[in-house]
């Protein structure tokens, strides 16, 4: 019986596979200094930004693509990628009516229409959407509400133009261009992204959110997000994405940097549902992301929550550097892989300050022929007294052709540290399903129920709007994957 449902699911098409026809302003394929100059010029960037890009590019050329992760894929040909594609510039938009109807339709299909968001704005829950289509931010809503509080929330290129001091001060401080292969590439060719600054003592009144979407064919997307929370501020940032169906692999190498000052708190949530490739493992997105936050000063807190269900290959380690005393880092993750998807994801917690704490909860679910790995590092530096870490990474296997792996690295150089790590691997118990069946819940729903229960600790961390979406996503991703 399980097989029937499994097959049904395997044969179901990717729900969000469609292409929006917006005339793109593409750069020629390939990567060299001229392309970088082209991107920089196109975006009308100041000289220092171009220099930064070129510096990163020069460094990138010295690097080799890393291959330590537990994934295998055809390495992208970096000369066969279009590094810049932007919808043609339109006049400044004031209302949604002026937005390209094609674009609005795309969002509608995704079920996240701007209109709905705007309607919601009158009600309690407010979400400011910085809609990113291809690499350029098209529309920013709620900007006015935010600017009243002094919050800057805009596209990265806008920030380069309007707040160069802030960008210059913080960009590359958390993820330097020398960090890794993909971070270097991103620093050289990033097209756009989001910039957010929360001033001293401000509690951001709404959830900030960016929807990423990869659109034009053959376009790599190189997002760059910079989030700065000044003293005593609070912000919750959401990021979610879906991508159209494609046959060739698409590369996505984003960089996210978070800086939390004294007493600041940042909550960063992601729901990732990019095209994972078809049932034979053809196509799908390569998601090679560098995400890192730094608790720069005392009593700050950074919390990562992620629900990863998409992408053919995922490589992602949202990390926290706990530099300030009493700072807190958190990582909550659900990673689902099906068919031939591969995920190597986890976190790094670097304890440098005193009395720092970190919590890692990772839930992996693998089905089909997929491989799902947790890879994490907990490092307690010398002098980071009374550091505390608790890690738990559980894996759930559905079917006997998938793999679940755990690679935790723990490095401790301080005797007062207390570090715990636990991991289990199991499958959904037949008794659990039987119990549900007995009570009139069919196997399909029972699995949804059990999986959602299994992931509850993580889903609870998501903001309300996302939690609902995430639950649905999990159910869809695992429909019928009875082991």
């Amino acid at each position: 019986m399980g097989n029937e449902i499994l097959e049904e699911h395997i044969n179901s098409d990717y729900k969000y596979g469609f292409v929006t026809d917006i005339e793109a302003d593409n750069a020629p394929k390939g990567l060299n200094e001229d392309i970088i100059r082209f991107i920089s010029k196109k975006k009308n960037e100041p000289e220092w930004m171009l220099e930064y890009r070129l510096k990163a590019f020069a460094y990138w050329k010295t690097l080799e693509e890393p291959n330590w992760a537990h994934v295998s894929y055809t390495k992208p040909n970096f000369q066969d990628i279009i590094y810049y594609s932007a919808p043609k510039p339109k006049k400044e938009l004031k209302s949604l009516d002026e937005v390209d109807p094609e674009l609005l339709k795309t969002f509608e299909k995704l079920g996240i229409s701007l209109e709905e968001q705007k309607r919601l704005s009158g009600v309690e829950s407010k979400i400011a959407v910085d809609a990113v289509i291809d690499s350029v931010s098209v529309k920013t809503t709620f900007k006015e509400t935010l600017s009243e509080k002094g919050i800057i929330f805009c596209s990265f290129s806008e920030a380069v133009q309007e707040h160069p001091d802030l960008v210059k001060k913080y960009m590359g401080t958390v993820v330097p261009h020398t960090d890794n292969f993909y971070a270097a590439l991103n620093a050289a060719v990033f097209s756009d992204g989001s910039f957010c600054y929360i001033p001293k003592g401000v509690r951001c009144p709404m959830e900030l959110s960016t929807y990423f979407r990869i659109n034009a064919s053959g376009t790599g997307q190189f997002e760059r997000t910079l989030l700065i929370a000044d003293e005593g501020s609070y912000v919750s940032y959401l990021e979610g994405c879906t991508a159209p169906m494609r046959d060739e692999n698409q590369l996505h190498a984003a960089v996210v940097e978070i800086v939390a000052h004294k007493n600041a708190e940042v909550k960063y949530s992601t729901v990732q549902n990019w095209y994972p490739g078809d049932k034979d493992g053809k196509g799908g997105i390569f998601n090679f992301v560098t995400k890192r936050g730094i608790c720069l000063e005392d009593n700050s807190k950074i919390s990562w929550t992620q629900v990863e269900t998409g992408s053919a290959v995922t490589w992602k380690y949202p990390s926290v550097i706990l530099k300030g005393d009493n700072s807190i880092g958190e990582f909550y993750s659900v990673a689902v892989t099906n068919n031939y998807q591969q995920a190597d994801t986890g976190t790094k917690m670097m304890h440098l300050g005193k009395n720092t704490r970190s919590t890692i909860i990772s839930k992996g679910i693998s089905a089909g022929f997929s491989n799902n790995s947790y890879r994490g590092l907990v490092r307690i530096a010398k002098g980071a007294s009374n550091a505390r870490n608790f890690s738990q990474c559980d894996s759930l296997l559905m079917g006997d052709k998938c793999g679940a792996h755990t690679f935790p690295y723990i490095e401790i150089k301080d005797k007062s540290a207390i570090v715990e790590h636990e991991a289990t691997t199991s499958k959904i118990g037949e008794d659990q399903i039987f119990y549900c069946n007995q009570r009139g819940i069919d196997t399909e729903k029972a699995i949804g129920l059990i999986v959602n229960g299994y992931c509850k600790e993580v889903l609870n961390q998501l903001p309300m709007e996302f939690a609902v979406e995430a639950q649905k996503l999990l159910a869809v991703s695992l429909e019928g994957s009875v082991g």
Binding site: K382, K415, T425
Partner: protein, 432 residues
């Protein structure tokens, strides 16, 4: 123009192979394959993922000789015979020494001899297993050992033989010049046989840096039961790379306990392959480190077949500037359904300068399994110390008691009373 030529250690080792090639016994083809593998791999440096925390390129720096000469006499090493009543094979600087060994009245069904002798007298059995389990392409030191090992021990327990007395393989380093030693053991325990083996690594009158690269292959045939113990008690100048490759057949039981009490650099590679159904494997370890010692325990449990159990517990107490690393990997293959695999690593860090690196890994490709691992690191529990102090114990004795209790979980798994008493005494002495 003047050119300075400096032979690297790698080249020197390869040169040593060429030099000693004519005198080797055994299968030349295997050695040739091994040296080729070593030429390809070299010595592991910092970039080598499996040797991430031990940079052997750096550790092994220096000039070495391959000599085996020594001047030890039986009365000098009395204290090193850990067990009163045992079959003892003694190896000094990697060479079998029949004068120091006690192998006079071996019971029926037991063979203990040097490896060259085994290649002569028991050719069929040896060739069936020798270098068949330790893969020269899998590890740099296995390759080096297979290429260069000239001596070692062969233990064979025939079908159904139950050997009551333990077997003690005693390795002694005694030298005044820097040495690299490669010794190689083969242990074959046939169907329904039972045996207890103790390996101990000791030093006597050692004034130089000695690198011991010791490998053992242990083959456990169906229904056999093997208790294996290792006591590593060398000096801070010595470097020990100890590979144990175990292959288990169906329904066999293999238990090993590894004690690292002293040594400059100790690297243990323990690989167990569960090649049949209903196998039980127990891996335990205890390491006590101090000063600048580095101890690195790597274990790999490879579940290839269904319905097997493995259980692993490694504990460490780390003091001063020492570095302890644990890397345990459980590998559950596709067919290994109904596997139960557990792994635990617990550490106590006593000093501000010590380092603990731990990496408990799971790689699982089967769905109907129960696997878990856990690791914890911390100082001694203050509540526990307080509890004892409230009952009138001094702080030092309270801590001693707790450390002893921490260690005894591993020590209590030793089934040879004499050995357990010895270890308990050694450990108590350490905490004084």
């Amino acid at each position: 123009m003047e050119t300075i030529t400096k032979t690297s250690l790698k080249d020197k080792l390869i040169g040593q192979y060429e030099l000693t090639k004519p005198s080797f016994v055994g299968d030349a083809a295997i050695r040739e394959m091994a040296i080729n593998a070593f030429v390809k791999q070299g010595l592991p440096g910092r970039k080598h993922e499996e040797y991430k925390y031990l940079n052997f390129e750096l550790i092994l720096k220096g000039d070495y000789s391959f000599s085996h000469s020594h001047s030890l006499a039986a009365q000098q090493i009395q204290s090193l015979y850990l067990l009163k009543d045992a079959y003892v094979a003694v190896f000094v600087n990697g060479q079998f020494n029949s004068n120091l060994s006690k192998l006079n009245d071996l019971p029926k069904g037991l063979i203990i001899c040097s490896l060259p002798e085994a290649f002569e007298k028991h050719k069929t059995i040896v060739e069936q297993h020798y270098a068949k389990h330790a893969d020269v392409n899998a590890d740099n030191f296995i390759a080096l050992n297979t290429a260069l090992a000239s001596d070692g021990c062969f233990v064979h327990v025939s079908k159904g033989a139950i050997i009551e007395k333990p077997i003690h393989l005693l390795y002694i380093s005694s030298a005044t010049e820097n040495l690299i030693l490669n010794s190689r053991n083969l242990v074959v325990v046939e169907e329904n046989a039972q045996v207890k083996i103790v390996e101990s690594f000791e030093v006597k009158d050692l004034t130089s840096k000695v690198v011991t690269n010791a490998s053992s292959e242990i083959v456990v045939m169906p229904n056999a039961i093997v208790d294996h113990y290792k006591v590593q008690n060398e000096s801070e100048q010595s470097i020990l790379i100890n590979t144990t490759q175990v292959y288990q057949e169906k329904q066999s039981v293999f238990s090993t306990v590894n004690f690292t009490l002293n040594g400059g650099v100790v690297r243990n590679n323990l690989n167990i392959v569960l090649g049949g159904e209903y196998i039980e494997s127990h891996l335990n370890g205890l390491y006590l480190t101090k000063n600048n010692q580095q101890v690195d325990n790597h274990t790999l449990v490879d579940h290839r077949m269904p319905n097997c159990n493995s259980n692993e517990l490694y504990k460490g107490i780390i003091d001063d500037k020492s570095v302890a690393t644990f890397n345990g990997k459980i590998y559950v293959r596709k067919d290994a359904q109904k596997t139960n695999a557990f792994q635990s690593n617990k550490n106590i860090l006593l000093s501000d300068d010590g380092t603990i690196n731990t990496k408990p890994q799971l790689e699982i490709y089967a769905d109907d399994v129960k696997c878990s691992h856990g690791t914890s690191t911390g100082k001694l529990d203050e509540d526990q110390v307080f509890y004892l102090r409230a009952r009138g114990l001094s702080e030092t004795s309270a801590k001693k008691l707790l450390m002893h209790a921490f260690a005894s979980e591993v020590v209590s798994t030793v089934k040879i009373d004499e050995l357990r008493d010895y270890l308990e005494a050694e450990i108590s002495a350490r905490f004084e």
